[in-house]
Every structure is written in structure tokens, then in C-alpha cells.
């Protein structure tokens, strides 16, 4: 009978349509990182852009993540060829300045770029309030499971990855995450 055939067809088609519809709601490039909750990979990377103010470093010095136990650390992977990095630069610089006295350290990590291009970009953008580091052969980027820029990682005071943000980050989100991490006692979740 025709109604029975139609029922078979609908029964077969509905799950496929639902599955395809679910696929449309997913961003194929959004990779769920397994890092949040785990120990943040340590690094020792050279400073190529010193930053300004209280958290400034000398060009050529080595920045180590392990030296910042007790601080909340924000790592921002960026590149001069990255368009979205331009959109988040002001927010990162101003929040880094505002939280410098509250036990928060910001580092930029240059991804797949040259230091000269990075420095020219920083100058073009009106400066960067925190130091930026070189990541030779992208070893640290791979350690952090990076697949594009910009990506921003929040690291707790006891050295765990708390959160990873993909794409340009906003001032509001930075403040929200930092306030939440600063409110947490070391060792808390």
C-alpha cells in the first residue's frame, strides 16, 4: 500500500535529515581541546617584543611558564598575517595593563611568523603592553594543540589550563575569565 511505502521512506529519511541538520549546527573547524583541566605544557621561549610597564621584559631574555606559579597566565598565539588578531589586540593590551598588578601575566606567542614582521605589526598597532615570545618550529604551539591563530589560553595559578578560546577574544570575556580565575583559590577548580 502507498501509505506503508511512504512510512518506510519517512522512517529511513528522518534520521539522515536529523543527522545532517545536526552537522549544520557544528563548526567543523572547532576542535574540542583536551587540555582544559590538565597541566599547562611548560615552555622556555625567547622574548622578541619587550612589552611595557610592570610586566616588561628584556629582548633576548627567556620566559618560562614554570616561573609563574601563583600567577594567572594568559597565552595568546598570534601572527602579523592574522586578520582576527588585529580585532583582539586592543582588548588584550588594555586588560593586560589593568590586571598587571593583580597577579596576572600575559604573553604573546608568535606563530609561524618572523620577529621583524611581528615587531612591525606591534608598532603598526600602537604597541603591545605585554611581552611577546618566539616559538621556534612551533613546538610550543603544537604542545598546546594549536590549529590556528588567534587562540588564547588561560592558565590557573597552579599551572593548569583552565580555558581555551578560539578566535578573536573580547575584553568582556577576558575580564570575566580572569575575575573567575582570580576568585578561585590556588588548587581550586
Amino acid at each position: 500500500m502507498n501509505w506503508r511505502r511512504a512510512l518506510y521512506g519517512v522512517t529511513a529519511a528522518v534520521p539522515v535529515i536529523v543527522l545532517l541538520g545536526y552537522g549544520l549546527t557544528r563548526d567543523p573547524r572547532a576542535i574540542v581541546s583536551p587540555l582544559p583541566g590538565k597541566a599547562a605544557p611548560d615552555f622556555a621561549l625567547g622574548v622578541f617584543a619587550p612589552g611595557v610597564g610592570r610586566t616588561a621584559m628584556t629582548v633576548g631574555d627567556t620566559a618560562r611558564l614554570s616561573a609563574h606559579r601563583g600567577d594567572v597566565v594568559v597565552l595568546n598565539f598570534w601572527a602579523s598575517w592574522c586578520l582576527e588578531c588585529r580585532h583582539e589586540h586592543e582588548a588584550l593590551s588594555s586588560v593586560a595593563r589593568a590586571y598587571a598588578d593583580r597577579g596576572v601575566r600575559f604573553y604573546g606567542l608568535l606563530y609561524n611568523d618572523t620577529p621583524s614582521a611581528g615587531l612591525a605589526w606591534i608598532e603598526d598597532m600602537g604597541g603591545q603592553s605585554y611581552p611577546s615570545l618566539l616559538d621556534p618550529r612551533t613546538r610550543t604551539a603544537i604542545d598546546y594543540g594549536l590549529y590556528g591563530v588567534p587562540e588564547t589560553f588561560f592558565i590557573t595559578r597552579d599551572g593548569r589550563v583552565a580555558y581555551k578560546h578560539i578566535g578573536a577574544i573580547t575584553e568582556r570575556l577576558l575580564v570575566q575569565k580572569l575575575d573567575s580565575l582570580l576568585a578561585d583559590p590556588p588548587g581550586g577548580s
Binding site: 583536551p34 590538565k38 603544537i142
Partner: protein, 146 residues
């Protein structure tokens, strides 16, 4: 590099006295390392590409990831250790072929189920067209003259 001169040729730009550059010769151990690197790199998805393995991708990140594989294997880690390293960093997404367990099973079972369903439809359709038509007695209209 030595330069072969034909009679009467001019002085070569590189004198013959230059020590030839050592040619890299692959030892059997290097060959095994390269084979393992290639095999692992073929299993892992390139994060900045669409559907390419890091073996097939020419991107800088894929090149760097292949170097990481090679370095870790050379340092004595097993292929399973290296695979686990990338799983720890990128999650299961990094595997081009997801593990056949849990929800992932759909990826493996759905094509088989679709194939079987398609075969069943074809089989039924073919049977319907090739089945002999049962001869039914012809029902004649009543003869009005009878």
C-alpha cells in the same frame, strides 16, 4: 662538489680541490625511522587543512608536526607513545580514522547499513519485474445476446 671538465673548458667556478659535500646516506635505522614517521604522519589530520593528513599536507605546521614525530621516535618513544602525544594535545579529532567505538561506530556502520538497504531495494525491484505473471482466467463480459 667536483665538476667534470671537457677538454679546453674554462676554469670552473668551484675549484676541484673543494672537498665534496658529504652525501647523506640513509642507514637501515634511518629507513625504519622514516617509514615509521610516514606511517604515523599518514594517520594524523593536519590541523590547518581540510581532510589532509600531515603526511600529505605541504603546510608549515604539518612539516613541524612531522619533525615532532621524527624527533620523538628518534628519542626512543614508540609509535603508540607518539600517537598518544598528539591525542593528548588535539584530542581524537587528530586521528583521520576515528576509533571504532561508541558514537564513532555510526561512521563505520551507517555506510554498511545503507549499502544493505540499497541492495534489498534493488533485489525487491528486480524480483518484481522478473517474476512470472500468474495467468488469470479471463473474465468475459456477459453476452447480451445470450
Amino acid at each position: 662538489m667536483s665538476v667534470a671538465l671537457s677538454p679546453g673548458a674554462q676554469t670552473p667556478a668551484v675549484p676541484d680541490t673543494v672537498t665534496p659535500a658529504p652525501r647523506s646516506v640513509l642507514t637501515p635505522a634511518d629507513s625504519v625511522l622514516e617509514a615509521q614517521t610516514t606511517a604515523l604522519a599518514s594517520e594524523l589530520r593536519c590541523p590547518v587543512c581540510q581532510g589532509l593528513s600531515i603526511q600529505d599536507s605541504p603546510s608549515e605546521l604539518a612539516l613541524d608536526m612531522r619533525d615532532v614525530i621524527r624527533e620523538q621516535l628518534r628519542s626512543g618513544k614508540s609509535p603508540d607513545d607518539v600517537r598518544q602525544y598528539f591525542l593528548d594535545k588535539y584530542g581524537e579529532w587528530i586521528l583521520l580514522e576515528p576509533k571504532p567505538e561508541g558514537f564513532n561506530l555510526l561512521v563505520y556502520l551507517l555506510p554498511v547499513a545503507a549499502l544493505l538497504a540499497g541492495a534489498a531495494v534493488v533485489w525487491r525491484t528486480v524480483r518484481r519485474f522478473t517474476a512470472p505473471v500468474a495467468a488469470e482466467p479471463a473474465v468475459l463480459p456477459p453476452n447480451p445476446d445470450a
